[in-house]
């Protein structure tokens, strides 16, 4: 366990010193929230009997930030480390492989929780979106299950990425359309039901629904167990694929 802590500390240093990871994982969701709130801020969204757009976008952008801190950030950084030969080099030491992966997952989940705090605070301070303190256990549970599942998916995805140059295009080609189709960028009430049905086949929509239910008080339970179960199953499939196809050695050269 102290080994995991050791690895985690260095993963944190590397994460915060890398301008690309800080921009795409931390700054980019904040910028998106500011843009969406500015452009659509005075409208309402026709869910839960009508809520303010900013109330909709705060959990939506937290959803995006969690996926970005986990699936996107892990897939990119692991492919870079693999192709640089760092994963292979680490395998030549007595450190067990799982420690390396555990450190990275820990790093992703901590950044995801930080993004929850950051986006929630900005939502509260700038747009008066209530932070539902009473639902904090449900929020954290939903976030951690989602973060863990998207970590597994990110690790599995590295097997499909042949080079460092291919990492960003492949990850974005998968995630960006699904953000649009799942209601993260465009509110639910503007999307045709066919689109939502399509998005239901993928984990982003389910994670968004679960997180939205936890964050925005409504009639239902704070923990959306059925959506969370779908996310967890995706995560488990990701874990199996990762265990089978993850590579430690560079693909090129």
């Amino acid at each position: 366990m102290s080994l995991v802590w050791h690895q985690f500390r260095y993963d944190q240093k590397v994460f915060w010193r890398n301008p690309a990871s800080v921009f795409f994982t931390v700054a980019f969701p904040v910028i998106l929230l500011l843009i969406f709130a500015t452009v659509f801020g005075d409208q309402t969204v026709d869910v839960r009997g009508g809520i303010e757009t900013t109330t909709y976008y705060v959990p939506a952008i937290i959803t995006l930030a969690v996926i970005s801190a986990t699936m996107q950030s892990l897939a990119m950084s692991l492919v870079i480390a693999r192709e640089d030969g760092r994963l292979k080099r680490g395998r030549g030491t007595p450190m067990p492989s799982w420690v390396f992966i555990a450190g990275r997952i820990g790093n992703s989940i901590v950044v995801a929780l930080l993004m929850l705090a950051l986006i929630a605070a900005i939502g509260r301070l700038l747009y008066g979106v209530d932070i539902p303190w009473g639902r904090l256990p449900a929020i954290v549970l939903t976030l951690v299950v989602g973060a863990a599942a998207f970590c597994c998916l990110g690790i599995a995805l590295t097997a499909a990425i042949p080079s460092q140059d291919a990492a960003a295009p492949i990850v974005n080609a998968l995630l960006l359309p699904l953000y649009f189709l799942s209601g993260v960028f465009i509110p639910d009430d503007q999307l045709p039901s066919g689109v939502i049905h399509f998005a239901d086949a993928f984990p982003i929509r389910h994670f968004f629904e679960a997180f939205f239910d936890a964050y925005v008080p409504g009639n239902g339970a704070a923990v959306s167990w059925d959506n969370l179960a779908v996310v967890a199953i995706w995560g488990a499939v990701g874990l199996l694929l990762a265990a089978r196809f993850f590579r430690w050695t560079p693909r090129g050269g």
Partner: protein, 283 residues
């Protein structure tokens, strides 16, 4: 004599139809610096990565520190240090952090500061790896391999692509490792590197060892004919002889008697490079 640190018998490795390693026998003894010398594609890295436990062999017997690398566990890994042929270190960590990160992987590491000093990077300890030159990064890499205090170090082409001054510094670092009593297996395609650093050299070409011995005796260099060259009346004269003292005496006696000079007189033995090129090209 103590048991060999590395012992290889009849090692073979094929990739599909291609035989990259075709029956290598080798022993490396404790405290020895052993160089694996050969052109690119000769099978050096394949062999070294089999010894490091990264690749599975197709045939033969291999023991490294008394264990089969394919089955060896974490205790064995703690006793070896690896510098890969190509590895980009994390550019966002400092020299000290990079070495401390690896120190944490071992139960009894060497002190980090001492290791930094050993690879000659005291003045760069707080510099990010991304800001270092290629030669300095390589020395960080050696420091990361050394910090676990291994008995055996693998250095795969430690100076490829370096400018002459960076190579010289890397050589000093590697020569310093010998003083720590480490056994070192290094691969190189530079003749002078093997000559400078190694106690023994094996020349490998097309997956086979074509010669081995001390750098001086390699390829029977000592018993090969010497070449005597001079100019006579504007004409280059060159002759090979296995008895250079006698031949030279006859030549000079004759010249002396006739009162002429042997212009540009030169006696050379085949350089290690000549032997190397001959050994690796005739295949």
């Amino acid at each position: 004599m103590s048991e060999p640190v590395i012992s290889i018998r009849g090692l073979r490795k094929s990739y599909g139809e291609v035989e990259a390693v075709r029956g290598i026998d080798l022993e490396v003894r404790r405290g020895e610096v052993f160089a694996f010398l050969g052109p690119n594609g000769a099978g050096k890295t394949t062999t070294v990565e089999i010894l490091e436990g990264y690749r599975k062999r197709s045939g033969g017997e291999v023991a490294v520190l008394g264990e089969d690398p394919e089955r060896a566990g974490r205790e064995w890994r703690a006793r070896i240090g690896i510098v890969l042929q190509s590895c980009r270190l994390d550019p966002y960590l400092t020299v000290r952090e990079s070495i401390a990160l690896y120190a944490g992987y071992y139960s009894t590491p060497r002190p980090v500061e001492e290791t930094i000093a050993h690879v000659g990077l005291e003045s760069k300890a707080d510099a990010r790896v991304g800001s270092l030159s290629g030669g300095q990064r390589r020395r960080v890499d050696v420091g990361m391999a050394l910090v676990g205090d291994p008995d055996l170090l693998f250095l795969d082409e430690p100076t490829t692509g370096f400018d002459p001054s960076a190579r010289r510094q890397a050589w000093e670092t590697i020569a310093g490792l010998r003083e720590l009593g480490k056994t070192i297996l290094l691969t190189t395609h530079y003749m002078d590197e093997a000559q400078r650093l190694a106690d023994r050299v094996a020349v490998i070409a097309k997956g086979e060892i074509v010669a081995s011995g001390t750098p001086e005796s390699l390829g029977d260099r000592e018993s090969r004919p010497a070449r005597i060259a001079y100019r006579e009346g504007g004409r280059e004269v060159s002759l090979e002889t296995t008895t250079p003292v006698r031949t030279l005496n006859e030549l000079t006696a004759e010249a002396l008697a006739e009162g002429r000079e042997l212009e540009g007189l030169e006696v050379t033995r085949p350089s290690l490079e000549d032997v190397y090129l001959e050994l690796t090209e005739q295949r």
